[in-house]
């Protein structure tokens, strides 16, 4: 008997050790005290690696304060913020679509902050309560390969209806709305334009025959177009422009005449951040023209939200492109119903 217990000691010991580690409590940080501010800000950055690096370097250059970043997509950032909400490792979240910020705000992860610089930002590009403020906007458009279009004998699409052309059979791609914010924006755009979910799904059902595949990531259709695998991709126009700038010459960007959806990239303070003062200064800076002009130098051609910022000729022209009324909160509220319906009604259907 004694021997049997004896033999079980190592596993028990190890299990106990692991259990102690797992059961130990984390402590809520006693920070969030302005006095503890170290003068250095850590940014959860939702844009491209180059853009994040250029932004933090620009902040340091103009304020003399230090900034570090980790590049995270919206979902990753949200997961990490949520897991660490007792003792946040980040002070600011910068870049990435507003729907992520809305979700974070509803889970109590953001600290509302109305920057003095936010006054110049148009109301469509910011949260009323100051949970987040927009730093850039991107419009949905059609990214087409002119070589393939010529082969098929069609012109670059100028409207959502043009995508239904029989000649484009299996030559269009968009992402899957339940996995990509870009594609959900496209779906919501249909709901807005057609005045309801039913006509929107009628349109999507017709479009289905022309779709080669619903890609996982929002930018993937642009890359398929670039490789000439398909003729047209539904993407944010700046993704297509970035590909053009990389040297892919056959690409052309067009916008639907009926109107199109858009995304707003945000910036926000993290609740309980260790460096609240520096973080607020970072947000102030992110809204300045100086900061918003950095994008085009690192192949990010979104449109700045600050009207005083110089607009790159490659960003979409908000006078030429017709934007729909895009209510981020309303779109978010219906997302799970609409994407489930898309999954069952559209994605599984046989292609005629």
């Amino acid at each position: 008997m004694v021997q049997r217990i004896h033999r079980r000691v190592p596993p028990l010991l190890a299990a106990a050790l692991v259990a102690v580690v797992a059961a130990g409590c984390t402590r809520a940080a006693s920070s969030a005290d302005p006095a503890d501010d170290t003068g250095k800000v850590t940014v959860a950055c939702g844009a491209t690696e180059e853009w994040c690096a250029a932004m933090t370097a620009g902040f340091t250059r103009s304020t003399g304060l230090k900034a570090d970043f980790v590049r995270l997509s919206s979902g990753e950032a949200l997961a990490r913020l949520e897991a660490g909400k007792d003792d946040p490792e980040f002070d600011v979240w910068h870049g990435g679509p507003a729907d992520g910020y809305v979700a974070a705000s509803s889970r109590g992860l953001l600290e509302p902050y109305v920057s003095p610089n936010a006054a110049t930002i148009p109301a469509a590009y910011k949260d009323v309560a100051g949970a987040w403020t927009g730093v850039y906007a991107g419009a949905l458009g059609f990214c087409s390969n002119t070589r393939i279009l010529a082969e098929k004998g069609v012109a670059a699409p100028k409207s959502w209806r043009d995508l239904l052309a029989p000649a484009l059979r299996r030559n269009v791609a968009m992402a899957h709305p339940s996995t990509s914010g870009t594609a959900y924006a496209a779906l919501w755009t249909q709901v807005q334009l057609d005045g309801g979910a039913d006509p929107a799904f009628d349109y999507l059902a017709q479009l289905h025959s022309n779709i080669l595949q619903y890609t996982k990531s929002g930018a993937a259709p642009g890359q398929m177009v670039a490789r000439g695998e398909i003729a047209v991709g539904v993407v944010f126009s700046h993704d297509c422009v970035a590909l053009q700038q990389e040297g892919i010459k056959d690409l052309t960007v067009t916008f639907p005449s009926e109107g199109t959806g858009y995304e707003v990239g945000g910036v926000a303070l993290i609740k309980g951040a260790g460096n609240p003062v520096t973080a607020a200064r970072y947000v102030d800076w992110a809204l300045t023209p100086e900061s918003q002009q950095i994008g085009p130098t690192v192949q990010a051609f979104q449109r700045p939200t600050n009207p005083a910022a110089a607009v790159s000729p490659y960003a979409f022209d908000d006078r030429a492109v017709k934007l729909i009324e895009y209510d981020v909160a309303a779109a978010g509220a219906q997302k799970s119903v609409l994407t489930k319906r898309f999954d069952q009604q559209i994605a599984q259907a046989p292609k005629s």
Binding site: P10, L17, V21, T48, S73, G247, D343
Partner: protein, 581 residues
Amino acid sequence: MLDVVEQAPARTPEAAQPPPRRREASVRIALVLCLVLVGLGSVVPIVAVLAKALSPEALPRYADFFTSAVDLGILRNTVVLGLLVGALGTAVGLLFAFVQTRLDVPFKRTLHVIAMIPIVSPPFAVATAAIVLYGRRGVISYGVFGVEYDIYGLDGLVLVLSLSLFPVAYLGLVAMMRALDPAMEEAAMIMGASRLRVLRTLILPLLAPGLVGPFLLLFVEAIADLANPLTLGGDYTVLASRAYLAVIGEYDLTGAAVYSLILLFPALGLYVSQRYWLGRKVRTTVTGKPSGSVHLISSWVRWPVYAVALFIAAVIVSLYGTVVVGAFTEILGVDNSFTLAHLREVVTGPGLSAVIDTAVLAGIATPIAGALGMLIAWLVVRHLRRGSGWLDFAGTLGVAVPGTVLGIGYVLAYRGDRYLGDIPVLPGLVGGGALAGGAAVVVLAYVTRSVPAGLRTGTAALSQLDPHLEEAATNLGASPLRTFRQVTLPLIRSALLTGLSYSFARSMTSVSTIVLLVTPETRIVTSQILGAANTGRYGVAFAYCTVLTVVVLAGFGLIRLLVGRDVPLHRIAESPERPRR
């Protein structure tokens, strides 16, 4: 539990004796070490995720899952993919191993090197190369044959995953075929058995643990793989990509946890059946007794077999060649002029520090993972009776769950310092202010993700070893640890080599777990690759992949130098004889 040693009474009655009653101190220390590392590395984080997957808010999701045709389709897709890749990958591995050890053909050395290449599969690179070469507008499929082949989906995934995963099967099988006692083959041939009959009734049954081990590993890796389903999956959705996208696209951690829990079931089921099936037969062939010589096949039969292997090798070379060529081309397929700009950006830009950081962290993780895998295999096969299955399974967990889920588990479990009362028991491992700037947890994640490969090859190699060899050492007074070091280890050296090489390659190319763990102090090269690929900068991404591959190959060389080559266990007959009829 089903222990090979325990269940082998038919052939070696003495070996059926239970292991020594009193466990040596060294075994006990090894056991505690394994349990703690496996506990911290996979059990705790996975339990943290499961706690979410089984929370009250998650429970209705299961009903949704099992009543939704879409979700059930995803589950079926996952299992089909796993089975196909497991079978095809193992078959390719067997073919290459057979060519290598039993055929009398030229250029075997080159073929071996080609078969090793896919161990380094930088995320997205091979999938993208496959699209460029064999896709709708593929250089070969469309350019040469004029076929608009839609590579996205199951076929493309099976192709790319089988080709990138088969080297583990191959390396394990080569080692095992070299270790097979040729005396039995000789005996069979002398009694007039044909080559085919020898293969069917002798070699294959003896190799079974070597076939089932890789099959299981390939199955699990295929269903947990993320980068390829994302790049090449098209409308073919599997659980791993679904779980990832629940986090990325829907901000739905609970949903991701539910998908991950369901993903564990096919892996678990296959695992249990493997242990049940394999646990009852004797496979020991390395007995230390004198044996015969290997007779290489020199009849015409070798040529068709060799041709198939060459064809597969050509496909591998074409895919990896595309990656290298892409690194030196402006934009592959669009502007094919030569450039060094991409490479310069990697070597002189911020990329270099990422490459160095990653290599250092992977270099730290590799020996730990290799040793841990072997140690667990040794404990499971030789020293444990009860609970060996659990330890083995816990060791395999690291690869059975998708990396994203493991990453989330780490964040949930190790964010912030842990206290018990007022006593700090574990410093925070994840994120800013964590231990070693977050580097410690990256190493832990690397170790956890790579242990399974060493464990599986180790288990397969050890179950081939006759326990008598070790018993002899023990009877002469050697401690278990000394026996392991001086008798067992040299005999399973090639399995160790495989385990270490694979660990290093895996760590260097791991993406999904690490993305959630990076901090400003730890830059990881794979996230740079993804960044470049996502913005369509393929040239830079290919350049990163090329540099990564060079680093990994250099690592292989170093590992080989340190571990040494295997001991030849038998000789090859001087003049290859034809099978006697």
